[in-house]
């Protein structure tokens, strides 16, 4: 790689440590809207981020102009910021083991090599298929292909390259009936090549979402209150990620912004709950190494209800005096790695979905298809999520569909209230969005099995 001289120059100019992240990325998007192609776009970016440590001050600068003069200026800016930081705070790093590796995500067909015309045809066909009912007033379908190549190098002997292809399709269906409008947005994506797109039935995917929107538009919202809730894998995935995963991130713990601070070894969930963060897992995003060049293996965060570990980067591990779990990730070369989840999910139990329903006299089965996401306060442990069209449960069986369901509560109450866990683990990732923190968005995976929670607050009702 042609940037080795930057490491040497950084050391010569007085840096105790220099780390580089070189990134190239291409994102293609094909959007069909109401039976027409709306937008075909390609986005390409490359650049270099330089992180330096000097006298305990951590500095960073980035540039998308890659000639030698621009990179030299960038290095000097990073050193200048390090000097400004060292006056007010000292940063320590855990030791990094020298590592040299090249990792490429699994793919058969390079999606960037596939003809534009094939992609246009596919997205248009999937969009047109969505108009199965006169109540469908609007349908937007988007196909996306993402290539991300990162090279991490440091003066400590790290030399890691990770290449990853992701492909996926999203669909928004809007249905209208008797003055009421309802939307259902969903996506499917995998770390894979074009073969994932080829092998999936996208017309069935968009048709099903249209039908769901048409059905949901005439549904009622459940009365607000406290319910026994069966949660599907997508919702438990996002709930864990947002409401618990962020609280388990070491930087929030170190600064006291997490409800989990000081609770290692404590019971924080029902004994049925085991939660892990794992870099490479079926269905999830591909993070064999983090952006500091640390291998990302499985971290058991909660073991049978007991909090066992926090997620850390090199700085937070040093600060907390615990092991570096390889969770230092950044959105792109313009950002500094911070503690992020990779694929955060709950391990499965041994019950069937039907067994989860059996004991519920009156409750709700909340579903992820059509969910719009959630928001939490990791310091308080509060969360609020808008889930997709869901079903009432009556006498152990699924009953009528309900819409506009919003769940909220305190995450530790919810996890302590888990009284049944199914065996049907499912993990998903996304190519259309990701997890946001400190202005940075990274791709993550999330999921779990179906679970049952004895008491959860349901809002909505409008």
């Amino acid at each position: 790689m042609e940037f080795d001289w930057v490491l040497e120059e950084g050391a010569r100019l007085g840096a105790d440590y220099v780390s580089l992240l070189y990134q190239e990325t291409v994102y293609e998007s094909f959007t069909a809207d109401n039976r027409n192609v709306r937008e075909i776009s390609r986005r390409r970016a490359k650049g270099l981020g330089i992180q330096v440590l000097r006298g305990g001050g951590l500095g960073f600068a980035s540039t998308s102009t890659l000639d030698k003069d621009s990179i030299s200026r960038c290095l000097k800016k990073a050193l200048a910021t390090a000097s400004a930081v060292k006056m007010v705070s000292e940063t320590k790093l855990t030791e990094a083991k020298p590592v040299e590796d090249r990792a490429v995500s699994r793919f058969k067909i390079d999606p960037l090599e596939v003809d534009f015309q094939d992609k246009i045809d596919l997205v248009l066909k999937a969009n047109k298929a969505a108009f199965v009912d006169p109540r469908v007033k609007s349908a937007t379908t988007r196909l996306a292909v993402h290539y991300d190549r990162r090279i991490v190098k440091s003066t400590e002997g790290v030399d890691v390259e990770v290449k990853c292809f992701t492909t996926g399709l999203s669909h928004l269906a809007v249905a209208y009936e008797a003055g009421v409008m309802e939307r259902v947005l969903h996506q499917r994506a995998e770390v894979a090549g074009w073969e994932f797109i080829q092998e999936s039935d996208w017309e069935a995917f968009t048709t099903d979402l249209s039908k769901l929107a048409c059905k949901a538009v005439s549904c009622k919202t459940p009365p607000p209150g406290s319910y026994t809730v069966v949660v599907d894998p997508e919702i438990i995935g996002i709930l864990l990620h947002e409401a618990f995963g962020h609280a388990s991130e070491g930087d929030l713990v170190a600064s006291g912004a997490s409800i989990l601070k000081g609770r290692l070894g404590e019971k924080v969930a029902s004994k049925l709950v085991t939660v892990v963060d794992e870099g490479v897992v079926e269905g999830g995003y591909f993070v064999p190494y983090d952006d500091e060049g640390t291998p990302k293996r499985r971290t058991v965060v909660v073991d049978k209800g007991v909090l066992r570990s926090f997620l850390t980067s090199r700085t937070t591990a040093a600060e907390l005096g615990i092991e570096n779990t390889g969770n230092g990730r950044c959105q792109d070369f313009q950002n500094i790695p911070i503690v992020r989840q990779t694929n955060y999910y709950m391990l499965p139990g041994d019950m069937s979905f039907e067994e989860l329903l059996e004991d519920v006299g009156f409750g709700i089965y909340i579903r992820g298809v059509g969910a719009t996401g959630g928001q939490v306060d990791p310091g308080m442990g509060t969360f609020t999520f808008s889930v997709g069209p869901s079903f009432m449960i009556r006498n152990g069986e699924l009953a009528e569909m309900v819409r506009g369901v919003v769940i909220s509560g305190f995450i530790l109450d919810v996890l302590k209230g888990v009284d049944a866990v199914a065996a049907d683990l499912r993990i998903r990732t996304s190519i259309f969005g990701g997890c946001g923190k400190d202005g940075q968005i990274v791709r993550v995976g999330f999921g779990g099995p179906h679970i049952r929670v004895r008491r959860m607050t349901i809002g909505g009702g409008g």
């Binding site: 940063t91 607000p224 609020t384």
Partner: protein, 442 residues
């Protein structure tokens, strides 16, 4: 920024019409927790290209402004246009580029702020938190200073430029006592340095954090709600930005479709979009197509007057852009408000509280972005609020969910607006009082 060669390259590769926007962005960012973590400088260009060959349109975005990068961008953009199906609604790239005179959007002092000066601001904010009350400390925050230049041009030889500065600082405090804890976050957002008061921000966060140690859940029921101006501004941005966009209307995704001229909101409610207000967060001399911004009255005393248009959506209806084009990452444009403003009323916050027998003054919420602007269903969770009993503050509340039909709330339940405006992400609102709104709790 040297951009004149972009049009030449596009024409050379076969583009018949089109436009481009080039941004140069310089950011100075300080992330901190209970101490400063790092300072970073980021600097870069983004080139957005939209070209057409006949009625075939293609888009390309890149961060490479080198001659080779522009060559590659121009070639690929034209190639994408050529393979794209015809867009029957494509008339052409915008014409008539120009600038409105807008003041207070570029601050030289801010553009030239040094890392050491920025560090001092962060230290002041942190000190404000930790000296406010015993046991309260800063746990998280960020200071972001952005200097951005835009050049927008078309293949007709027109080109305009604009520039702006912004500064954003947020800080969270945490208070802990045996058996209870509280977190509170607040921010300041401005186009110029002199409006940022880091110490005062930190002190207010520290005081509020301490105060909310004793927050409790409220029981489910009907309450009069006073939404703090910032909460209201955030909700209005989420519920209305898309709904008033001509794109959502034309695509059948807005509950406001076909309702121009209808009275949908209370007659106390006048919403305007105005990108010309001096110093406002979303103010600018032209939109992302180079069309001069202006003041657009969206709702006048409850009556829907217009949607917001970019050139593409305006051409569909044979009218003119309202100056609201926002360029997406994919290089196409979508119309959105520049500054969405709810005109103020004549109450003070104190009068609103005094007039409330049983209610909640909602200071902070989370999750309002999970509301559904297509169906009009509003949802938000109150994380910090004051319980009001018989005209005075009687305690602090947390964890209640506000849910309901947004248009019904804004039509029949809104009963008062305060005199001052507050900002949340280029949306501006006074404090807003509603009667008898459902709050759900556990």
């Amino acid at each position: 920024m040297e951009t004149s060669h972009i049009a030449d390259r596009l024409i050379r590769f076969g583009a018949e019409d089109g436009d481009y926007m080039v941004t140069k962005s310089d950011d100075l960012i300080i992330d901190f927790t209970d101490k400063i973590r790092a300072i970073r400088f980021t600097s870069g260009y983004t080139v957005y290209i939209r070209v057409s060959v006949g009625k075939h349109v293609g888009f390309y975005t890149s961060n490479d402004l080198s001659p080779e990068g522009i060559e590659e961008a121009a070639k690929t953009a034209v190639k994408i246009a050529e393979v794209s199906p015809e867009d029957p609604y494509w008339v052409g790239a915008p014409r008539g580029l120009g600038l409105t005179d807008v003041e207070g959007i570029y601050d030289k002092r801010l553009a030239e702020l040094t890392p050491d000066e920025a560090v001092d601001m962060v230290k002041s904010a942190m000190e404000g938190v930790s000296t406010a009350k015993p046991g309260v400390r800063p746990v998280r925050g960020s200071l972001r200073i952005n200097v951005r230049e835009y050049t927008i041009g078309n293949l007709n030889g027109e080109e305009v430029s604009r520039r702006g500065t912004s500064i954003f600082i947020y800080i969270s405090g945490r208070a802990e006592e045996p058996g209870r804890s509280a977190v509170y976050t607040d921010f300041q957002n401005s186009r110029s340095l002199d409006r940022i008061k880091p110490y005062e921000l930190g002190r207010e966060v520290g005081l509020k954090t301490y105060e909310f140690l004793d927050a409790e859940a409220v029981s489910t029921g009907l309450y009069d709600l006073i939404l703090d101006g910032r909460v209201a501004a955030s909700i209005f941005r989420i519920m209305l930005s898309q709904a008033v966009s001509a794109d959502a209307v034309q695509m059948g995704r807005s509950p406001l479709a076909g309702k121009v001229g209808c009275k949908l909101l209370s007659e106390n409610i006048t919403f305007v979009d105005d990108g010309t207000v001096p110093g406002y967060v979303g103010s600018k001399p032209c939109d992302d197509e180079g069309i001069p911004v202006r003041r657009n009255v969206i709702f006048d005393r409850g009556v829907l007057k217009t949607y917001l248009y970019d050139t593409y959506t305006a051409n569909k209806e044979n009218r003119r852009s309202t100056g609201n084009a926002h360029r997406s990452v994919g290089a196409s444009t979508v119309p959105l408000p520049n500054n969405l403003i709810l005109n103020p009323g004549d109450y003070t916050l104190e009068e609103m509280v005094e007039d409330t027998s049983k209610g909640v003054y909602v200071l902070k919420t989370i999750g309002e972005w999970l509301s559904n602007p297509v169906s009009g269903f509003l949802n938000a969770t109150v994380t910090h609020g004051y319980f009001i009993s018989n005209g005075s503050i009687a305690g602090r509340v947390k964890g209640a969910v506000i849910g309901g039909d947004f248009y019904q709330l804004m039509n029949v339940k809104v009963v008062g607006l305060s005199k001052e405006l507050y900002e949340s992400m280029s949306s501006y609102s006074p404090h807003v009082k509603f009667e008898k709104v459902q709050l759900s709790s556990k």
